[in-house]
């Protein structure tokens, strides 16, 4: 019924980033290309990491463990004595190291920006209108972004790429892997979810009455959203009717009916109306949260919650919704009336109520610091294992990829991180990263600069 509108992503990704005012030597540009685009991910020979402490996520910690990867998958995991390493395997000594699954960042702008202040490098949001569900971040995703190697050097192997929250419906997310020969290989799921933002930040032209454009109030935002979903329902009905008539015509040799006019905006909303895809419902305060949830329920949308940084007074209500929460960031400033740790302790408060939580950096340049947020939450009551799950298995579950990602289990994608300590501590240095079983070069534009000026 709705033909896929995604095609030209290759063309977009092959566009080199331009707009720099400073020129680098040509060699630098070449280095950048070499380190950002990784060759196709094929892993033929088995590779074993031996002697490390394995944080499996699903079945506890294995001291002095062995993990074997082949064909891009984990093929064996266990204690050194229980796992037989296949002959011909490359063995890497990981004694003293901590090994854990690749981390998953549940909201980033990776591939949508290079330099924040340089607009020609930004594809963060189409701000010309509020209702933009036909925007696909996958089509702007810049696979060769210099930011991607920087993030993956700290063990982030997968991420949701979302537009920023300046529209109520800014477009659709994609779920990426932070390595691959090109955008196609890195885009694991296109249009996996869609943000619906209701934080008050989406109001147009806040300020003087003379400057305002619709919608300039929350009631404006809500009515516009409601109209969009009603229009999409009508649109869907038209196509269902058409499909019925078409089948009838074919069966009864009648003339083919005239197809309704396609509307990309409304078309994009249909999988969400049908509950086939997830809405990422963002709100901060109890009032916005409840308005947003009412709207979502009115159209029976399947949703997860996002932010809710200032909804501490309604956490039981949040728990009653029985949906996961992308929480925070916990660095969000408290309101004037809130204690300094009101947001720091939110993950723990949600966990206590049985809510599944995940973390997000909500960033592009700072994706590498995702684990810090999880670690910091433990200082305010979140159990350590839950903090780690919130950037691994929980995230994989929320994004529907738990059969492939989020833990060290046989059969899963071999996204494996080797570090010199606790993954949630800010001092820990990641030594090796494997994505689909392939060793990622531990270089980025930043390490190149470091090495250049260390000579």
């Amino acid at each position: 019924m709705q033909p896929s509108s995604i095609s030209q992503q290759q063309a977009a990704s092959q566009q080199g980033w331009s707009g720099r005012r400073r020129s680098w030597p040509f060699t630098w540009a070449l280095v950048l290309i070499l380190i950002s685009s990784t060759p196709a991910l094929t892993q033929e020979n088995p590779l074993a990491l031996k002697g490390g402490k394995l944080l499996t996520i699903t079945h506890g910690i294995i001291e002095n463990g062995v993990i074997v990867m082949q064909g891009g998958k984990i093929i064996a995991i266990g204690t050194a004595s229980s796992v037989k390493i296949p002959s011909g395997a490359q063995i890497i000594d990981a004694t003293g190291m901590t090994i854990y699954p690749g981390l998953i960042d549940s909201e980033t702008q990776l591939g949508l920006t290079e330099i924040s202040a340089e607009n020609m490098t930004n594809d963060l949001v189409e701000a010309s209108d509020e209702i933009m569900p036909h925007m696909h971040t996958a089509e702007a995703f810049h696979a060769e972004s210099a930011l991607i190697p920087v993030a993956r050097l700290n063990g982030i192997t997968n991420a949701v790429v979302a537009p920023i929250d300046e529209d109520t419906l800014p477009g659709q997310d994609c779920f990426i892997q932070l390595a691959g020969a090109n955008a196609s290989e890195m885009l694991l799921i296109r249009d996996n979810a869609m943000p619906l933002n209701f934080t008050g930040e989406e109001r147009r032209n806040k300020g003087g009455f003379d400057k305002r454009k619709f919608p300039s109030t929350r009631m404006g935002l809500a009515s516009q959203l409601r109209q969009a979903f009603i229009d999409a329902e009508d649109y869907r009905a038209k196509w269902v009717d058409y499909d019925g008539k078409k089948t009838d015509a074919a069966q009864n040799k009648k003339p083919e009916p005239l197809a309704p006019k396609r509307d990309l905006k409304l078309e994009a909303l249909i999988p969400y109306l049908e509950g086939k895809k997830t809405i990422v419902l963002a709100a901060e305060t109890p009032s916005d949260l409840q308005t947003a949830v009412s709207l979502a329920n009115e159209f029976k949308l399947k949703f997860v919650l996002n932010h809710i940084a200032h909804s501490q007074s309604v956490l039981d209500y949040v728990a009653s919704l029985e949906v996961p929460v992308i929480v925070g960031p916990i660095y969000e400033a408290p309101k004037e009336y809130e204690r300094y740790d009101a947001v720091y302790s939110l993950p723990a408060q949600l966990y206590k109520r049985g809510v599944k939580i995940v973390f997000a950096s909500y960033s592009a340049h700072n994706v590498r610091n995702l684990p810090d947020q999880a670690g910091f939450a433990t200082a305010f009551g979140l159990p350590y294992d839950e903090a780690l799950k919130a950037i691994t298995l929980n995230a994989a579950e929320v994004w529907g990829v738990a059969d492939q990602l989020g833990s060290l289990d046989v059969g899963k994608t071999a996204n494996v991180v080797v570090a010199n300590g606790d993954p949630l501590d800010v001092k820990t240095d990641v030594q090796r990263v494997f994505i689909q079983g392939r060793a990622i070069p531990m270089t980025s534009r930043q390490t190149q600069l470091r090495d250049e000026y260390s000579k």
Binding site: A333, Y340, S363, H365, R368, D372, A379, L424, D429
Partner: protein
């Protein structure tokens, strides 16, 4: 990047809220500091190593003894810090909190007569949130819209005290200079000078030339007065030029917002041309490219741990900047420039251990003694040494980690923050209890 709308937050503070805050502030002046003993802590002195099971004895707001065996009178208040860490209070040498958005007088590229003290909003909750993160002293700077901004104010985070009690006593003066993208963007967008880096430096040089003339006029006048010349007439007082003359006289420390290495070299050359000293390069994300020159001129840097890519001139930023510069002899501070990051500068400092292998003491120094030097208050704060102000943080958990958090924060020997307390955890500020 998700924008945290702090400006709006401040503006949305209702009238009611303002009244409540005002009431809370007027109710409670800090009690005078008494004798305090902090016992059984791992004392991280910054200057002379760690002391396990150490004791710090505080009298009249000053540290009077530090060591394993310290005798103190039984009348002293005892804080048992067993299993905890004790560090000096964190010093943030680049902050714009508590100014109610009055950060930039962006109406002229040269505004040295601006006094940040005049905008100091001592009731700003950001002071409290930073305090809860272990910050006890901050340098509140003018913004970077102007090539020559205003004069900074040094505060102690005595949240709940009066405005004047929060000013750091006798702190030396600092003035903010800027460079690079910000001035050229602000004035260039209005089709004014400066719109380029050559414009930037021309504006700076012109202002300094005028200050030289002004200083000469006054020197001549003073000379005449000394000679009892009856014809001596005083030149006109000009606040702007007076402030710049103080730069030339070495009375104001110059703190320069700067990113690129080439601009650092130009600023060093300008300082030599006009005979003043640069105290520190702030941001200084390309310091690693010219560390030798920075070190040779005894200029400190106040940098981010790992920020990058937010603008073109931050594109070559690398997280090894701090440690690479440090190893070339540069005095390095990690600062926040942020209402957010100032709440967890300990974590930012810990990143220098990961990126470049700073030692524990080196990392801690970057948020205590070194920023104190940049502000010019290192004789008073920044380490746990006898004679210094008793600005101390008791940490629950190792401070150079993601999980270490302040349990109590003392300023001048008085507890201003206690995590275990109800409400805001503040002792002198009572709202919310």
């Amino acid at each position: 990047m998700r924008r945290i709308p702090t400006k709006k937050l401040a503006l949305r503070c209702t009238l009611l809220c303002t009244i409540l805050v005002a009431a809370a502030f007027s109710q409670s002046a800090p009690s005078p500091p008494t004798e305090v003993v902090i016992k059984n802590a791992t004392v991280m002195t910054v200057t002379h190593g760690n002391i396990k099971n150490g004791t710090v004895y505080i009298k009249d707001g000053k540290i009077v003894a530090v060591g394993e065996n310290v005798s103190a009178p039984s009348s002293a208040t005892v804080i048992d810090a067993e299993g905890k860490y004790l560090t000096p209070g964190i010093v943030d040498c680049h902050s714009h909190i508590a100014l109610d958005d009055d950060v930039n007088e962006a109406t002229s590229p040269v505004t040295p007569q601006m006094m940040m003290k005049d905008a100091f909003d001592y009731q700003d909750k950001a002071i409290y949130r930073a305090l809860a993160g272990g910050v006890t002293t901050s340098l509140l700077l003018h913004g970077s819209a102007n090539m020559i901004g205003g004069q900074a104010v040094v505060i102690k985070h005595k949240y709940g005290a009066t405005r004047d009690e929060m000013l750091f006593p006798n702190a030396p003066g600092s003035i903010k200079f800027a460079s690079g993208e910000n001035p050229k963007r602000v004035y260039g967008s209005r089709d004014q000078l400066p719109s380029t880096r050559m414009g930037n430096f021309a504006v700076q040089r012109q202002a300094l030339v005028e200050a030289q003339d002004y200083m000469r006029e006054w020197d001549n006048y003073n000379e005449k007065v000394k000679r009892r010349d009856k014809d001596a007439t005083p030149p006109k007082h000009d606040l702007k030029l007076e402030a710049l003359a103080d730069v030339l006289r070495g009375k104001l420390m110059v703190q320069i917002h700067i990113y690129r290495a080439d601009e650092m070299l130009t600023e060093i050359a300008l300082a030599k041309e006009f005979g003043y000293k640069i105290r520190a390069f702030h941001h200084a994300l390309e310091a690693y490219k010219v560390s030798d020159q920075i070190a040779a001129n005894n200029i400190g840097i106040a940098t981010f741990a790992d920020w990058w890519g937010f603008k073109q001139e931050a594109w070559d930023a690398i997280p090894w900047n701090a440690t690479m510069a440090m190893r070339k002899g540069v005095r390095v501070a990690i600062k926040s420039d942020s209402e957010d990051y100032t709440r967890r500068l300990n974590q930012e400092a810990a990143k220098t251990i990961r990126y470049g292998g700073a030692t524990e003491e080196e990392a801690l120094k970057m948020i205590t003694l070194n920023p104190a030097w940049i502000i010019g208050v290192d004789d008073h704060v920044g380490s746990i040494d006898v004679g210094k102000d008793a600005d101390l943080v008791i940490w629950d958990g190792y401070p150079l980690s993601t999980t270490g958090v302040p349990e109590k924060v003392l300023i001048d020997g008085d507890v201003y923050f206690d995590r275990a307390r109800a409400g805001f955890g503040t002792t002198h500020y009572k709202e919310g209890e």
